[in-house]
Amino acid sequence: MPWWGPEGPGSCGCPAWLWPPGCSPLRASCHQADAAVPAELSSGTLDVLPADSSLYPAAGVSATIAKLAKTCTLRISPQKLNFIVSDKAASGGVSMWCELEQENFFSEFQMEGVSAENNAIYLELLSENLSRALKTAQNARALKIKLTNKHFPCLTVSIELLSVSSSSRIVTHDIPVKVIPRKLWKDLQEPTVPVSDVSIYLPALKTMKSIVEKMKNISNHLIIEANLSGELNLKIETELVCVTTHFKDLGNPQSASEDASQDRDPEQMAEVHIDIRKLLQFLAGQQVNPTKAVCNIVRNKIIHFDLLHEDVSLQYFIPAFS
């Protein structure tokens, strides 16, 4: 059932969609006025199998996101899938950018955007829904994700479960999505990684999490500082008590510019003051230890976490207290 009028393809930023191979693409015209009105979505498929091992990091990521923000944006482009939480008021200034290369996960992937230059689809959805849908996928034999239109635009996740009996069990989740019009895409681009004062490898996230959890009971104001000698401190300071946890021998990634690092005293700490709850939300979402975890600090401005879980990269930005 068409959601819009019979005009031809418009250039006002109508979003794209997926369609099955062999069909001629159904072009949608778009409502010029209202960004919120979705265009027609014909169904296409993203096919993955087997999903049990390879999609696990994505399920973990979606669980993380569900703890961070109520809604998130899913960006689908020919090579990549991105989960985006932008730094609006709703997320408290925190932003997240997660990227995965689709060829690492999907055996079949079909999509097409509205035009060659704008070859992407942006969908807004409730992170809780996606997380729940992918959680079911942990025991999947096969998984299919499609963009469909069942009375309203949906991301349909269809999972065939592993089953001891001969008959298969199939779970289908229809996640309502909102298609984001092109004019809003600019707010959803990959954040530029700031030039950091210190870049350091993180300690075990589980350890950090249990420490930060206890510190939260004392104060919401957390100071994170690190230096180029592999030392990182987490500090809480109140009138009555100061608590500091010291991590040593963490190692620092090779710095991109040699000159900059030579000027800096390796012992000098760069610190940033953040809301401890935001850090805790981020750490609470990490169920598995990442392959690589780096933290970049821009003194008094922002802290940037850069994690790599197998083939999924996750970046998380927490701004300093203003």
Partner: protein, 390 residues
């Protein structure tokens, strides 16, 4: 009444109480010849649950003192549940559980004999009550499916714990489908996620239903029985008819059986696009079309005398109010059709009366009406009002 539960059965009893607590706030305890029955009903009378523990379930079972009538009582679910609050602790430390009623104490005494000689005695206050009974018969339902509880447990896993209602139906290829049911709200900009689980016929021990038939019921209430069945490793059977007729969920083994009778959404509820008026909401079936029962007023027990199974429909069969009361043999209210024996069946024949203005279905439960409380007149509605209730 005096009964003694020992060993692993104490935990089973506790688990049953936990299940019942998902339904109602009051527990009706009635020692019968064929066992101890624990029953409850929810406040809107749209769900009824009953466990019957056979005498062999107990190490000792005495329904009534010799020569005396069996006492039955109603207690706050919360109080009884508190005895079995932590099932892990019960399993670990309770060796015997003795429940007694009558004798000198005016309390229901539940005594837990625990390890190391520790004895915990709970004296629970109770109320006398009439027998709570629902009129239903699984054999009369045209559709039945039965599966190990584990299969059904896995089937409901993808659904969010907060989901209120679910639709169960038979789809193409005799697959059993469970789908989350969302009420349509006129003003909703945020749509809810729809989850559907499809299971093959082979996973069921029995599947006797036509393709296309489906019922919608409260998932939260069903989970109560499901968790019991899973822990006891029993099979669970679902007996149902057309939408609107109550669905019966049953578990059984040699020592106990459990029944949960849940109301289901009727066709008109399912297909109406407009927001439904309160009278149509099957979850709050009024006793009469215009009154709201004040149930669960613990201090005032009269209500319990008058729970009468009723199905009132306005449909092509013509308007009829069909009260189905379960009565003790000697008693007949003036206009009701004949007496029915206690623990069974379907509705009565037609009763002339003013049809209710709208189609609604409600589910009430029969009770033994003591002579003093006979309903007053030719009204399809129970005699509850005559007691001055509400």
């Amino acid at each position: 009444m005096r009964c003694l539960v020992t060993g692993g059965n104490v935990k089973v009893l506790g688990k049953a109480v936990h299940s019942l607590s998902r339904i109602g706030d009051e527990l009706y305890l009635e020692p019968l010849e064929d066992g101890l029955s624990l029953r409850t009903v929810n406040s809107s009378r749209s769900a009824y649950a009953c466990f019957l523990f056979a005498p062999l379930f107990f190490q000792q079972y005495q329904a009534a003192a010799p020569g005396q009538e069996a006492l039955r009582c109603k207690i706050l679910m919360k109080s009884f549940l508190a005895v079995f609050r932590s099932l892990a602790a019960v399993e670990r430390s309770v060796e015997k559980c003795c429940i007694s009623l009558g004798g000198r104490s005016s309390r229901l005494v539940v005594q837990l004999h625990c390890r190391y000689g520790v004895r915990k005695t709970h004296n629970l206050s109770f109320q006398d009550c009439e027998s709570l009974q629902a009129v239903f018969d699984p054999a009369l339902c045209s559709n039945v499916l039965r599966a190990p509880a584990r299969v059904l447990g896995e089937a409901v896993l993808p659904f969010p714990p907060a989901l209120a209602e679910v639709t169960l139906g038979i789809g193409c290829g005799r697959r059993v489908i469970l789908r989350s049911y969302q009420e349509e709200e006129a003003d909703s900009t945020v749509k809810a996620m729809v989850t559907e689980m499809s299971i093959g016929e082979e996973d069921f021990q029995q599947l006797q239903a036509q393709e296309g038939v489906a019922i919608t019921f409260c998932l939260r209430e069903f989970r109560g029985l499901l968790s019991f069945a899973e822990s006891a490793n029993l099979s669970l059977s679902v007996h149902f008819d057309a939408p609107g007729r109550p669905a019966i969920f049953a578990v059984k083994d040699s020592l106990l059986d459990g029944h949960f009778v849940l109301a289901t959404l009727s066709e008109s509820d399912l297909h109406s696009p407009a927001p439904r008026s309160p009278e149509l909401r099957r979850l709050v079936p009024p006793l009469q079309a215009h009154s709201t029962p004040h149930l669960d007023d613990f201090a005032n027990d009269d209500i319990d005398s008058y729970m009468i199974a009723m199905e009132t429909t306005v449909d092509s069969e013509g308007s009829r109010a069909v009260p189905s009361t379960s009565l003790s043999p000697g008693l007949r209210p003036p206009c009701s059709p004949g007496p029915y024996s206690e623990d069974n069946e379907a509705e009565a024949s037609t009763q002339p009366g003013t049809p209710p203005p709208k189609k609604f279905r409600s589910l009430f439960f029969g009770s033994i009406l003591a002579p003093a409380h006979s309903p007053p007149g030719p009204s399809p509605v129970l005699a509850e009002d005559s007691e001055g209730e509400g």
